[in-house]
């Protein structure tokens, strides 16, 4: 093996968003040595973008709320293909994880009696999202960061992992390079936690930053772990659509939670036109009832704008396709209208939605207190990811754990807003604690030396190709393929075409060339990310072809209805012995009677 600089940690956490930070804190609390590797600087990960809030059944605003209702809401939102054990643990433990943040310095908005205030959000039966204005994610990541830096965690900023190293069927560490100098380093570890977030960069229109290239999913897959539910991608209904340079930037669901309405170019509130059967009893009968709901009337039902994200995104797509969209291919989201109902509405909007006010004013010359926004769907989140044990978050590869967006299970076919911030706290903590336990119980493994050599050799190849295609052009081509052919509305023939395009793109990636040297070279970094993007794109496409029904975030034009037979299993993806992707149907364990009862009671 080449003489790599080697760093030893008991637990290596890859990714420093909310899940990675929470995992690192939990592992450090157990007394083991912890290394935290992140692609960006600390505190810049995508958690910072989360706006609306963190879902936890604290019951501070409506005491009818409980973990049971939260559990039932999560299962309903996920269309019952969730890992029910994760949904159960998540609903039970989220309140304690939120309160713990307060003990570490987070400041949430308050109720009149001084407790944590909670707001309404799509698919949540009661006001459940602890929040601070519309910058909850920043409050959370900063709290975890500022607490974490005093816990003895070794932080390796701007390092990117190239490959996981294994020792037989056990994880043994990772090989990474630093962005600044391009040096390789071997991280030897007894346990590894993947907390790398999502895959948004596989699509052209996305709310995700450059970092979200499916690293964790791809690293796990190539190391022998199993992926599941990769067909379930969440297209957030409200991204900015104009001007072009901001297309995809998120507009928080909090706008609708505060009373914002969606209208088409005829001024019609089209969300009232198609209310799914399983949500009819929970949805307002008219605009007036919807408005009262947003203002805290406990007897009112939620407006249809707060139906689940998959449904709202599809409704917007329908309006645009049928010619009722806004000038730039979206629909209107109007919060300014509340001035008909509230005195001092402009001040109220600026106080409740300060970031949104700022964002539109500065990037689009729109004053949201006076005029409607133009919005449309944007790739936001992947429900699928690395298959884990619900209690420990361990994968099928011993010592390899996953938490947060890169793990699968909690959200099933569709994630409720606010459930990702609680997900990363609950399962970040669990993954970190169980990884520490694993590290205590096992000696350091012996990484296979050939794996590190091979990864380093492949990583340097783009420099040695005298001429070839640039990495950014290939990335844009892949994003176009996924956006056009495996996007919000899917068909067999289009996705089959996508697979053949992905194969062609793989050939182009094999010939990619980069200029310059190894020092802080974004062209090289992008070239190395392409492999991960290809892996997750193929997994998404194959899984989406396999699911011949429509459910949650996965909508098939050729199979527009839900098929109960597809509720019996998750689609899993693993690397076959011949190196090709293999798909399996993994039967969902029957839900225990007690939990079945909880769902039945929730109605």
């Amino acid at each position: 093996m080449a003489d790599f600089e080697t760093v030893h940690h008991d637990v290596l956490v890859i990714g420093a968003g909310g899940a990675g930070l929470r995992a690192a804190i939990a592992a450090a609390a157990d007394g083991v040595s912890v290394g935290l590797v992140c692609k960006s600087l600390l505190g810049k990960a995508h958690t910072v973008m989360a706006e609306g809030g963190v879902a936890a059944a604290l019951g501070n605003v409506d005491d009818r709320d409980s973990w049971k209702v939260h559990f039932a809401d999560t299962m309903r939102g996920g269309q019952y293909v969730n890992n029910w054990r994760m949904a159960e643990l998540h609903a039970q433990e989220a309140p304690a994880r939120v309160r713990e943040l307060e003990a570490w310095g987070a400041l949430f908005d308050r109720t009149p009696d001084g407790r944590i205030l909670q707001r309404n959000f799509g698919g949540h039966r009661y006001p459940r999202l602890a929040h601070v204005g519309d910058r909850t994610g920043l409050e959370m990541i900063r709290t975890l960061q500022d607490h974490g830096i005093h816990q003895g965690i070794d932080v390796h900023m701007e390092w990117t992992v190239l490959t996981l190293l294994t020792d037989g069927d056990r994880v043994a560490g990772a090989l990474a390079y630093d962005r600044e100098r391009g040096r390789f380093r071997l991280f030897a570890a007894r346990a590894v936690v993947l907390a790398t977030g999502g895959v948004g960069r596989a699509f052209r229109i996305t709310s995700n930053s450059w970092e979200y290239t499916g690293d964790g999913q791809s690293l796990a897959y190539h190391a022998g772990a199993v992926l599941q539910d990769m067909e379930f991608v969440q297209f957030h209904p409200t991204g900015m659509v104009w001007p072009p340079s901001v297309r995809g930037i998120l507009v928080t669901e909090g706008v609708r939670g505060e009373g914002g309405v969606l209208t088409n170019n005829q001024g019609r509130r089209f969300m009232f036109d198609d209310i799914p059967e399983n949500y009819r009893a929970q949805t307002a009968a008219d605009p007036d009832e919807g408005w009262r709901y947003t203002q805290g009337d406990k007897n009112a039902r939620r407006p249809p704008e707060l139906l689940t994200r998959d449904h709202v995104a599809r409704s917007i797509t329908r309006e645009v396709r049928e010619g009722r969209g806004s000038p730039h291919g979206g629909v209107y989201l109007d919060i300014a209208w509340i001035k008909e109902r509230l005195p001092h509405a402009a001040e109220h909007i600026k106080k409740k939605l300060p970031s949104m006010y700022h964002q539109f004013k500065q990037l689009a010359d729109i004053d949201i207190t006076a005029e409607p926004m133009e919005v449309g769907p944007t790739t936001h989140y992947i429900m699928g990811g690395i298959r884990v044990d619900g209690d420990t978050q361990m994968t099928n590869l011993a010592g390899l754990f996953a938490a947060g967006e890169c793990a699968a299970g909690l959200h099933g076919a569709n994630r409720l807003g606010g459930n990702s911030l609680s997900d990363l706290l609950v399962f970040g903590q669990r993954a970190g604690a169980h990884a520490a336990q694993f590290a205590r119980a096992h000696d350091e493994a012996a990484p296979d030396p050939r794996q590190a050599d091979e990864a380093a050799r492949i990583a340097l190849e783009p420099f040695s190709r005298p001429s070839g295609e640039g990495p950014f052009q290939i990335q844009q081509a892949l994003q176009g393929t996924m956006q056009e052919l495996v996007g919000i509305v899917r068909r067999d023939d289009e996705m089959t075409e996508a697979l053949s395009q992905i194969a062609t793109l793989a050939d182009r990636v094999a010939r990619v060339a980069v200029d310059g040297n190894r020092e802080y070279n974004p062209g090289w970094h992008t070239a190395l990310d392409l492999g991960n993007l290809l892996t997750v794109s193929e997994a998404i496409t194959r899984s989406a072809i396999e699911r011949r029904e429509s459910r949650g975030g996965h909508f098939r034009d050729d199979y527009p209805d839900k098929d109960p037979s597809f509720a019996q299993f998750n689609i899993t993806v693993r690397k076959g012995a011949d190196g090709h992707m293999e798909l399996h149907h993994e039967t969902i364990r029957p839900i225990p009677d007690a939990l079945q009862q909880v769902i039945a009671e929730a109605g």
Partner: protein
């Protein structure tokens, strides 16, 4: 510390934009971008197409994709929330993602260079590690015991609102970049800079916090070096009133604790009394 020279000294000759504006919302503009590392560098001119709504970061990305794959730049959210893409645009410290081209004159080249108060890594990327070391030196959040038996606290919204301004900080470090104590006087060893006065203010004014950071602010953190020129406030992309709302109140607390003669007398007596 390596800082790139100013444009006038080493800017390479401009390559004239190739084409005239195609339409009212699309034209070619030139971006004069600093390229180099700790050993030196120069400005390079890149003509690129611009269109409606574009921000400086879009132009940099376009240049990176089409003309200079290895142009180093940090960015993440592209929505003014993560504070990664700080740079000096036409000499002003700003976020590239929130600087619209429509707010700049495109008749002359737009200068884009790294933050000059920090050591250069490459192109637009600087070494910010000093900031991370400084933060660790500040006494961490230390809450009073919980108010309720279930381990929770009761806090009034007004008390939350009071510190919101400071907690909005996205750690872009533009305030550090513009601060003359850091930029010109290089007092990094004895002065923590505006960002960390804001951080300290957020903790000192946190409704639950009971630690006392005032002695450290005076002795180790150098708050006395700040002579309230308000440069930091003027560049803050979050519009935090850094000087008036964070630094001056902290300075007042330092005065109250160390320089108030009446207070000193009271302390002396109470100590004598206890002794």
């Amino acid at each position: 510390m390596t800082t790139p020279p100013t444009p006038g000294l080493s800017g390479v000759p401009s390559r004239a934009p190739a084409s005239a504006p195609a339409s009212s919302d699309s034209r070619t503009a030139t971006f004069r971008v600093w390229r180099g590392d700790a050993t030196g560098g120069a400005f390079h001119d890149y003509p690129t197409e611009t269109s409606t709504g574009m921000v400086v970061l879009d132009a940099i990305h376009q240049i990176q994709a089409d003309q200079a794959n290895d142009l180093a730049v940090r960015w993440n959210c592209k929505a003014g929330k993560c504070g990664s893409c700080s740079a000096e645009i036409n000499g002003k410290p700003r976020l590239m993602c929130m600087t619209r081209l429509s707010d700049l004159s495109l008749d002359a080249p737009v200068t884009v260079e790294p933050m000059r108060a920090f050591p250069l890594v490459k192109d637009l990327v600087t070494d910010l590690s000093w900031n991370y070391r400084v933060k660790k030196q500040i006494t961490k959040f230390t809450p009073r015991p919980p108010d309720a038996p279930d381990g929770t606290w009761r806090i009034q919204q007004a008390d939350v609102d009071r510190v919101q301004e400071f907690r909005k900080c996205i750690e872009c470090y533009l305030c550090q970049d513009v601060c003359h104590v850091i930029r010109e006087h290089h007092e990094q060893d004895t002065f923590i800079g505006p960002r960390f006065f804001v951080y300290a203010a957020a903790l000192e004014m946190h409704p639950l916090d009971i630690a006392d950071r005032i002695p450290a602010l005076k002795r180790e953190h150098g708050i006395g070096f700040c002579n309230i020129t308000k440069c930091c406030t003027s560049v803050c992309p979050e519009n935090i009133t850094i000087t008036d709302n964070a630094i001056i109140p902290l300075k007042e607390r330092v005065v109250d604790e160390f320089y108030d003669p009446l207070g000193k007398l009271v302390k002396l007596f109470s100590r004598a009394h206890r002794g």
